[in-house]
Subunit: 131 residues, 4 copies
């Protein structure tokens, strides 16, 4: 019995493939948020590009990930104190725009983490589900 | 229009209440894992109790959480080098046994994070879904 | 040879006790910042108290800590959207006021992490060093 | 008055440049450890390279960093379950070999984080201090 089948027996009997894909979508977004918030970033230098790439490469190792697109919103990074050693920021949820696609057997979920100004909140949400 | 309704419009039209509850269950478990892994803990002193409590109190602030039970498995903490200043450990996934219950409208999910020896993996899984 | 002496041989020969205590002070503050930033908190409920306590109990396990005082500045937590499930915040550096005392043999350091408005920066700094 | 001078006034009067550089060395290593421990990594694919690079690019934004060399020790990554979706690991301190050089005015510190088998501990230590 492969490890996938071993894992499956821990899931409740009534869980549909779509529900499983939705569960994985939630895991994907929350993992990114809580792992990387607090990391130093700046509009100067290569930190944004390097961090976007590292988030994608590491987080796609989690099971059932089809695609991870990460953007750190440079427009939300303050242009402050350029000459100063204190002129960088810590990554916050508001900086992140992440879209993940998860797939479990025939079911697919497209989920997103994005700051929603009218909520003043970085909302994790399911954009689309199918299968 | 309340903020809950505002949030709802960002979700795809076809998402069921159960799928939403499953999504929240995944967010809950991954948030706990990626926020707290790495924290110093020890079987001596009050670190385990204090950390279990803080995880519960902070993470239940996320939306749609009904219950969060956190156990740091002291049996998996090594009894090492008691007299030494280096005799503590960093929290790993293997130490965590977490059960969360999420609810979205009529749907409920009971999800768990637990180390599964036969997988050599800390598996996040849905135990039960209803509604 | 005890583990303390084993550790000592990895340090360069010219490192003074004061320099060692200063190094530990830096470790203490940065560990707290990068471990806990991102955690959900709210002025309502017990999350602030529970988190302050857990930070103190876990982080004092690190070697050469004499004292750790953690305050999450509730005055900086927004009083927002009380009825809404989105009415909490993620811990940021600006919320933290931490003072640690480290000691290595005869040397002592009192170090602090606190938001400094005139710098727009959460500054880790050594308040006092002796020995 | 520049921001560097503003920051300086928060430090105790007796703090030497070497002690300041040592303090920064501790901050550098602990920031890396507590920010990134828990991140998924695998010997397959590009996660190790991408993460090493992101750690270097983001963490060198902190003040007074001269150089950051990060190596994730692939030899310590288990070669497990290659065909399975669960065949990756979470970054632990044992995987990290980090050397940082900090400089404050005329003083320089070379500090390292590395797993020390005889201590069974990932030791942050000052290799060399000068100035």
């Amino acid at each position: 019995m492969g490890r996938v089948d071993v894992a499956k027996k821990y899931f409740g009997a009534g869980v549909t493939d779509r529900e499983r894909a939705a569960f994985e979508g939630g895991i994907a977004l929350a993992s990114i948020y809580h792992q990387f918030v607090g990391t130093p970033i700046s509009i100067r230098g290569d930190s944004v590009k390097a961090l976007e790439r590292a988030i994608g490469e590491t987080m796609k190792l989690q099971p059932y990930r089809e695609r991870i697109d990460v953007k750190v919103d440079a427009g939300r990074l303050k242009q402050r104190g350029r000459g100063s050693p204190y002129s960088y920021e810590a990554l916050r949820g508001e900086h992140l725009d992440v879209e993940v696609e998860t797939r479990y057997r025939g079911a697919r979920v497209r989920a997103r983490l994005r700051y929603i100004p009218e909520l003043q909140y970085s909302l994790m949400h399911i954009r689309e589900i199918s299968g």
